[in-house]
Amino acid sequence: MTTYLIKGAAIVDGSATDLLIRDGVVAAVGRDATGRGAEVIDADGLVALPGLVDLHTHLREPGREDAETVESGSRAAALGGYTAVCAMANTDPVADTAGVVEQVYRLGRAAGLVDVQPIGAVTVGLAGERLAELGAMATSAARVRIFSDDGHCVADPRLMRRALEYVKAFDGIVAQHAEEPRLTVGAQMHEGDVSARLGLTGWPAVAEEAIIARDALLAEHVGSRLHICHVSTAGSVEILRWAKQRGIRVTAEVTPHHLLLTDTRAESYDPVFKVNPPLRPSADVAALRAALAEGVIDVVATDHAPHAVEDKECEWGYARPGMLGLETALSVVRSVGLSWDAIATRLSRVPARIGGLTEHGQDPAPGVPANLTLVDPAATWTVDPAALASRSRNTPYAGMTLPARVVATFLRGSPTVLDGKAVR
């Protein structure tokens, strides 16, 4: 295993230092760090972050390998500065058995570009009717701790209560896709001025907020951990703030696109901007940014959702919801003003803790696993969909110039990205 000496990287307290990486761990930190025969990486002017951790990734394998595979998604993640991603369960077949989560886990190990931590479905086939074998997934080789029917809400309150209770046996957490389905029948975009004008069926904010309020109360009642996926409204922020003040064990994520883009993007009717939950008005975007700064929202998660061209090059109403995120997340959150320390907290330290990924989310220190990424804070780049590593092209940022570029990523001491390029 090659030893690396990273010279002159700014760690998140702002000071420049050297990092010696040997045998998969950070062996030494400081200007006096030296390693005989080490390959030197000039990191002058670069920022060293703990490797990013995504709690919400769709890798599409098994089932839609035309849109993404575990390998292509892992490569996209590494290029985005990630060292771990949590793979959502809405594959085909659904990841609702130990067999499927182990398959995804092994594909991740084989690709070897990031740690792929499978998420297990809460209910069989995501159908919302009966619990999947959560314990079998927890004790499988994939050691599943996060369970989610993402893409669908666990809408039945009794079933949700049971899921929250049941996962306590193995310190699990239920990640809820908060969407009251009876309020979003046929919904295409945020319900408001723009949907009224465009004649697209509205997705009201209350459909999200009602479920978050209900589930926070359920989590309190049964003393469980609850995680809310892709929070998108100002009202949700208020409910989360209230729940946290009450001591309810709830955490929440926001996506980069909900921090940057608004519902007016739908005016083009280009389904690259169709996503679930939908893009919201600017007042919601402002509230989400403030909530992230305040800590009411705990993490940024990508909801990376690759889709084949034919599922996006069509009428808005027929298109599948979702957008790419792994390769742009760091730059997007930087563009909305997050400090490097806030990025380390919201995209690495806290998501690693929520997901129970103990090898990740740690700042470089002697003895910690060498999962880290080096970022050029001064670089800018223009998003070219064709140049992305994902198999799909549905980025909403095409043509946008964004700040900061990932230069190198290390997974347990081995580079997955060097000079801004994937090593394989």
Binding site: D193, A196, R197, G199, L200, P204, G317
Partner: protein, 305 residues
């Protein structure tokens, strides 16, 4: 002139007035023995209809033929579309055939906008989902102007299922552009969230609006909306928002009653109102051809490859 007609908002007051004035000239043609102009000879107009709408398709077909264009009717049923061809592939096919204009009717809001990104010719929105139907608004405005002599300052009440109505959206935009004052009337369930941002007033009380209206436009209300709890029953809807002879007496003498068709007689409009001389509903059909001739003429007339 604009290249596409996707929304009534694409027309400013000058262009909208030009369309109506040109339509008036086209209407004169209808009285002649030979009803044809050579204006669009050699040009190809495709009617691309993903929804059954014989009325609108025939209107566009007649309009294009009277301007001597070659007309191709491309109905989604029984074509490659029903075999799963995408809108984009269909667009590229029409492009390869050299379509100068594509008239599209589609159940998905925004389909004409998508089409316009894939073809070089003009795209005319002939009704897209619950979004817009701009030529319907033009023919309605034409009819109002013909009957009442002006549009500026007219009080127009649009009544019924505004939420799902492409006719209402286009009419609000166009009538506002042309200086009319629009009031949208219906049960709160059938007025969209966000309607406050439209250049129109809203009311839940039809009886209160009628005495000051110059025009009442009754929208078609599908009975199935009842199943989604938009209103409790057909009878209750009809009682609160239907226009019958008794209610019509609240209108000023000069006021007219319009309906974009097809009508649900006995639901939003009673048969005696529909058939009264104050309802230019059949006139609307004839005006439709003139207005569509004007739009095709103005969008295509100036262009030569």
């Amino acid at each position: 002139m604009i290249r596409h007609l996707l929304s009534a908002a694409d027309l400013d007051a000058d262009n909208a007035t030009l369309v109506l004035d040109t339509a008036a000239e086209m209407a004169n043609l209808a009285g002649r023995e030979v009803k044809k102009l050579p204006t669009l000879r050699g040009r190809t107009v495709v009617n691309l209809f993903y929804e059954d709408s014989t009325r609108t398709r025939i209107s566009f077909e007649a309009a294009a033929k009277r301007l001597s264009a070659d007309v191709i009717n491309f109905s989604a049923k029984g074509s490659s579309v029903s075999k799963g061809e995408s809108l984009k592939d269909t667009a590229l096919t029409l492009q390869a055939m050299g379509a100068d204009a594509v008239v599209i009717r589609h159940s998905a809001s925004g389909a004409p906008h998508r089409l316009a990104t894939w073809v070089d010719g003009s795209v005319l929105n002939a009704g897209d989902g619950t979004h817009e139907h701009p030529t319907q608004a033009l023919l309605d405005a034409y009819t109002m102007r013909a009957r009442l002599g002006r549009l500026d300052g007219l009080a127009v009440a649009i009544v019924g299922d505004v939420l799902h109505s492409r006719v209402a959206r286009s009419n609000v935009l166009l009538l506002h552009t042309l200086g009319a004052r629009v009031t949208l009337v219906g049960p709160p369930t059938l007025l969209p969230v966000g309607v406050d941002a439209w250049p129109a007033k809203t009311s839940y009380d039809l009886d209160a609006v009628l005495p000051d209206a110059d025009v009442v436009m009754m929208l078609r209300v599908q009975r199935e909306r009842m199943d989604d709890a938009y209103f409790p029953s057909v009878r209750e809807y009809s009682r609160r928002y239907g226009l019958d002879a008794v209610r019509m007496r609240k209108l000023p003498e000069h006021a007219i009653v319009m309906h974009p068709g097809p009508m649900n007689r006995g639901m939003e409009i009673s048969p005696d109102v529909a058939d009264s001389p104050r309802s230019p509903i059949v006139e609307q059909v004839a005006n439709g051809v003139s207005v569509r001739m004007a739009v095709l003429y103005l969008l295509l007339g100036g262009q030569h490859k």
